[in-house]
């Protein structure tokens, strides 16, 4: 039994935080109200001033297992998630072997069951070994619960292959998540084409490389009657394209945006700082502004981090050699608070809607809320405390994030899942 006193409750439906006591009994929310009596034997936590909300859900993470366990494992990845207030994730299938068959899915899910304290879901590849040629064993994966298909890390480059996959898999109720970039335009180096790419002498990847595939994949989905989910949108025009298609209403499109694309521009790369090297690349302030508008407007259904760990050794190479990607699970919520909620660019309701409820809706999962009778799946967030993202703080195996050693306002204090407290600070 756990009683939180005077917590401020956030929900996706209301911009106002409701101050109340919340009583947890046997993994469920037993009672909500002010001045609740303290049951015998209950643990009491004074939550005054702190925000209670459902646990976040990240629909785009790379846990690197199998194959790249030196970067991350399901254990370290899920502990990183908990550390950031995230109580459920969907892994991307660009592992080695790639998650492209029922056999690999079974192994991965079995591992997840034993090695993670939170639910870990996996997506499956569209094509065998992610090579864009032959369809993966789609129905087999579906039977094990996979609903999201993606060749993330790359676009499924042959439109005929993707169209066939869409026609086939939609029959099982599966949907497609698209990493959008024309490889011939983007080239191998993750840097926006612009003033910065000129200055650094690296051939850039133009935003149109993303826009073209966003448009292409939505058109393919429309032709196939499929649901397409556009991943990590980085550009203004990409957002506009999605907005336009959504306004037509004749195709099912959802989309996500990552915190780093809202926060950073190519200018941050400065003197070749590889912690800002990611794919799709950071673009300009105008893009950031547009993405924020898109998020507030609902063009983006959800926020996802694209948590992409790499070892310090790999990231300490020169900019061209270093791999793409930054970690995000541990910094997402605090940075969303610090840079957006605190300066009142948007409210907690948006955070709960976009980073907790919508990603679960996308995955067809039940949505935790702070309501009587609901299973306990929530976090307590201190808006006045601070978090310093030191190496010691981080639970991920990798610390390739621009936030390393930075201090931001806000702290995840408590993570509750069922009858267990997964984290307490």
């Amino acid at each position: 039994m756990l009683l939180l006193q005077n917590a401020r409750i956030a929900s996706e439906n209301s911009p106002v935080l409701l101050e109340s006591d919340v009583l947890f009994v046997e993994g469920k929310i037993q009672d909500i109200g002010s001045g609740l009596a303290v049951p015998k034997g209950a643990r009491v936590i004074d939550a005054r001033g702190r925000v209670l909300m459902p646990g976040m859900f990240d629909a785009h993470v790379h846990f690197r297992a199998p194959g790249f366990e030196n970067k991350e494992t399901i254990t370290t990845g899920s502990e990183a998630a908990i550390n950031g207030g995230v109580t459920g994730v969907v892994m991307m299938p660009n592992t080695r072997p790639a998650i492209d068959s029922a056999a690999v899915v079974a192994t991965v899910l079995e591992n997840a069951k034993h090695r993670s304290r939170i639910p870990v879901y996996t997506s499956g590849c569209v094509t065998k070994n992610r090579d864009g040629k032959e369809l993966a064993e789609i129905e087999g994966m579906h039977r094990l619960g996979v609903t999201m298909l993606t060749d993330d890390g790359d676009t499924t480059n042959d439109p005929a292959v993707l169209l066939r996959a869409m026609q086939y898999a939609t029959e099982f109720g599966m949907f497609f998540a698209s990493h959008c970039e024309v490889p011939e335009l983007a080239g191998p180096r993750a840097l926006n084409e612009g003033v910065m790419s000129y200055r650094l002498g690296i051939k850039g990847s133009p935003a149109c490389a993303e826009e073209i595939i966003i448009d292409r994949d939505i058109r393919l989905a429309r032709a196939a009657g499929a649901h397409v989910h556009i991943q990590h949108v980085s550009s203004k025009e990409g957002m506009e394209t999605i907005r336009w298609w959504k306004s037509r209403g004749d195709v099912k499109v959802t989309a996500e945006v990552a915190p780093h694309h809202l926060l950073f521009t190519d200018e941050h790369i400065g003197d070749y700082d590889t912690n800002y090297k990611m794919n799709p690349p950071l673009r300009t302030q105008a893009d950031c502004d547009a993405l924020l508008e898109g998020l507030k407007e609902g063009v983006f259904d959800l926020i996802a981090t694209d948590h992409a760990p790499h070892t310090p050794f790999e990231k300490a190479q020169d900019f061209v050699s270093a791999p793409n990607g930054i970690t995000g699970l541990e910094t997402a919520l605090v940075s969303l608070y610090h840079f957006f909620v605190r300066p009142e660019k948007f409210g907690w309701d948006l955070v709960v809607k976009r980073y907790s409820a919508e990603p679960r809706r996308l995955m067809g999962l039940p949505i935790p809320t702070i309501e009587v009778g609901q299973p306990a799946e929530c976090i307590l967030f201190d808006t006045e405390a601070e978090t310093t993202f030191t190496q010691d703080f981080m639970k991920s195996k990798s610390q390739n994030t621009p936030f390393i050693d930075q201090t931001l306002k806000g702290r995840v204090d408590l993570v509750i899942l069922g009858s267990e407290i997964l984290l307490e600070r």
């Binding site: 051939k203 926060l263 400065g270 300490a316 020169d318 050699s321 621009p402």
Partner: protein, 326 residues
């Protein structure tokens, strides 16, 4: 005014540039003596780390170092199967253990010399990193121009060719602008990026560029090996549209314009054969001035002492640019 490394032109102050150009003048005077060697760097070691072949820059640095009495070692990159960034880091550790005083490095990856500089006590000189910078080339170009125009302010330099892939264009234009020279780029639309700095005029039409009235026409080498995709239809077409043809040379001679080229020249591509005999071609002057400039740079840098390790550097980068304020 001491510096450990020379990595780029962008961070050089005007006084440093003036100093190096002055020093180069003094060193150049040595060339006419029968004994060309001075003991400035006696007992010092210079390591040549060239991941990309370059006879010209390599030998220029070697001659410069030897004239300063330094010992020159060539790191055998070609035979050590080192191509990837990971192995470069292992090499750096080896080099640090060797306690060499100077490392002259050329690599196809932009920013890589800076990475080496942060992990060694040696003075690192960037001899060209991808399409990023080639600072000694820029200095020798500026020196060559100043020999013809002692006060180059307001003079105009038209750089023609593959701007997109050219570290020479970037470094030389930055340096010339710091000296008050006006710079314009001319080349195919596929090779002159739309987003070059606003201070640089951008032309894709030869006649329009000539109407801008340049004092110097600086031709870049067409680097066929760098063209992973086709940027222009054919070398013949390139020569006709952007090259100095015989007819265009006549016009250039009439106007008395100087011609420069960082070499090696592709005859019949950037320029016709006759340019090599043109009295206002400064191409050989550039080669000669390369040695005195590199002597000035080697003599100027101060190797040894503490070096900012990568970690310390990262921390300092973070401190100087706080995360963000959206």
């Amino acid at each position: 005014m001491a510096r450990k490394d020379l990595l780029d032109i962008a961070s050089l102050h005007r006084e440093e540039i003036e100093f190096l150009l002055d020093q180069s003048t003094s060193f150049k005077k040595l060339f006419t003596r029968s004994v060309k060697k001075i003991p400035a760097l006696e007992g010092k070691s210079v390591l040549m780390l060239f991941y990309e072949a370059s006879t010209r820059t390599h030998s220029s640095f070697e001659v410069a170092a030897k004239r300063l009495s330094a010992e020159v070692t060539n790191f055998d990159v070609a035979h050590s199967s080192i191509t990837k960034g990971e192995s470069v880091r292992e090499t750096i550790e080896t080099l640090q253990a060797m306690r060499t005083d100077y490392i002259v490095v050329r690599h196809s990856h932009p920013g890589l010399p800076g990475m080496i500089a942060r992990q060694t006590t040696a003075s690192v000189i960037n001899a060209g990193d991808g399409a990023h910078e080639h600072p000694t080339q820029a200095l020798l170009d500026a020196f060559t121009i100043k020999e013809k125009f002692p006060d180059p302010r307001g003079k105009r330099v038209l750089i023609i060719g593959d701007i997109l892939h050219s570290r020479v264009a970037r470094s030389t234009s930055t340096l010339l602008q710091k000296l008050g020279v006006e710079v314009a780029y001319l080349g195919p639309g596929s090779l002159v990026p739309k987003y070059v700095p606003e201070s640089i005029r951008r032309f894709t039409d030869y006649e329009a560029a000539m109407a801008w009235a340049p004092d110097v026409v600086y031709l870049l080498r067409v680097q066929m090996e760098r063209q992973d995709v086709q940027f222009f239809p054919s070398v013949r077409e390139y020569h006709r549209v952007y090259g100095i043809t015989t007819a265009r040379l006549a016009e250039i001679r009439d106007k008395g314009l100087y011609i420069m080229h960082p070499g090696p020249v592709n005859r019949g591509v950037e320029l016709c054969d006759a340019v090599m005999d043109y009295e206002r071609s400064l191409i050989t002057n550039q080669v000669e001035n390369g040695i005195s400039i590199r002597m000035a740079v080697l003599d100027w840098l101060t190797p040894g002492g503490d070096f900012p390790k990568q970690e310390a550097y990262n921390a300092q980068q973070k401190a100087s640019s706080p995360v963000i304020v959206p």
